[in-house]
């Protein structure tokens, strides 16, 4: 049984479904636009303080968009019976989980592709490869945690309340390290390399842990 074939199949299926139904895209687009609007009208932004404020707006938008993107991967009612059908195949639960996490990450990355240049455009903060790398690294870890907890709360009542409650404490290390990396990339003092090193460590730790936990959460 080839786990990669299964994971890619699941990721492709989710992305094709999303492309054809476009259910999540409007919600995610809303957050991107809102973040930019709030950033502009909620703060007094000028060229000096823009690099201090822009990272905060970026992370706010990513956290909320992430909660939606990852939350929906396991949420739909019909998704539950579809999930059971997938689990009834010989495909391993880890492969299925990985496929879903990949698909959700792609959606979040699409948001980032819009948000990062937009921040640069509207707030005048520098846009660099460093910035992109920092955000991508954080996305990986946040995706694996977000999807795992989405799978957990899918079986529980009050999931809209529980998902942020459980996921945000686990995202804090990514926000702290990622926040520092983004600030450094935007020109504020601080060590970019150390922050990236931390992000990589956290990614490895949590991707491994979530992969190990996936089969307890998905399978009966």
């Amino acid at each position: 049984m080839n786990p990669f074939r299964a994971a890619i199949a699941v990721a492709r299926k989710d992305l094709v479904s999303e492309w054809r139904t476009r259910e999540m895209v409007p919600a995610l687009a809303q957050f991107v636009v809102l973040a930019l609007l709030i950033g502009n009208f909620g703060f007094q932004i000028d060229s000096r303080n823009a690099p201090s404020i822009a990272p905060g707006i970026l992370w706010l938008a990513l956290v909320f968009a992430g909660l939606i993107a990852f939350g929906r991967t396991f949420a739909a009612e019909r998704e539950q019976s579809s999930l059971e059908a997938m689990l009834m195949t010989p495909a391993s639960p880890v492969a299925i989980f990985a496929g879903k996490a990949i698909a959700a990450s792609v959606l979040l990355i699409l948001c980032e592709v819009v948000l990062l240049p937009a921040l640069s455009l509207f707030f005048g903060t520098p846009f660099s490869g460093d910035l992109v790398i920092a955000v991508l690294l954080a996305t990986i870890g946040m995706a694996s945690l977000g999807c795992l907890f989405a799978a957990i709360v899918a079986r529980v009542r009050a999931r809209e309340l529980l998902l942020p409650l459980l996921t945000l404490p686990l995202w804090i290390p990514f926000i702290v390290a990622g926040g520092q990396a983004v600030q450094s990339a935007m020109g504020l003092p601080g060590s970019y390399d150390q922050a990236i090193g931390l992000l990589i460590d956290f990614d490895i730790l949590f991707v491994v842990l979530t992969s190990l936990a996936a089969r307890f959460v998905l399978d009966e």
């Binding site: 299926k13 139904t21 998704e79 059971e84 059908a85 010989p90 009966e220």
Partner: protein, 214 residues
Amino acid sequence: MSMVVANGLTHRFGPELALDSVDLVLDTGEHMAVLGDNGAGKTTLLRVLATALRPTSGRLEIAGLDAFRERRRLRHYIGYVAHNPGLYPALSAAENLEFFCDLQDASRSRVAEVLETLGLTSVAHRRGNLLSRGMQQRLAIARAILHEPRLLIFDEPDASLDAEAAEVLGLVMKGRTAVIATHDHALANRLCPRTLVLRHGRSLGTATHLRVVR
């Protein structure tokens, strides 16, 4: 050899007893129908037999393997159509099947064969949400036989199937061991020589050619 040996299957949902110490034995190639009112425990029993649900207590052996320890291996043997088939509305019939081929690690050529068997070739490229209920049910059955399983477990397959229901089911069930949950006594008698009756989670016993007098 017996295909399915179940002993004392019991399942609770919280304090509620859904299955109450159910025993059954199914020989290879046998077809059995499970009858019972709504809430009698048919779906729970079928889910346990399909290894989709682990019962609170009891023993289950399928094809000589312990169902709880060898679940991954048993997936190859079992084809299960749940009460709610869980197909993807945004994907076409063929795409749904191709996806499951990828998960089963089966060859994609099976898709065309299976569509043919279930009479779905004409709607192969129609999206799931545009298929009639009857066709969706056929598609669910198609998905269940993609990997040529030896044991079929169908939860009320006739509920939305059109008039040729019995024919299609009979065709699919030929040569395989099968368990079907249904409300339709006539269908059960036609397809399955043996019937198990459930009431309130308890098995009232099995019989051949059961006649239910109300």
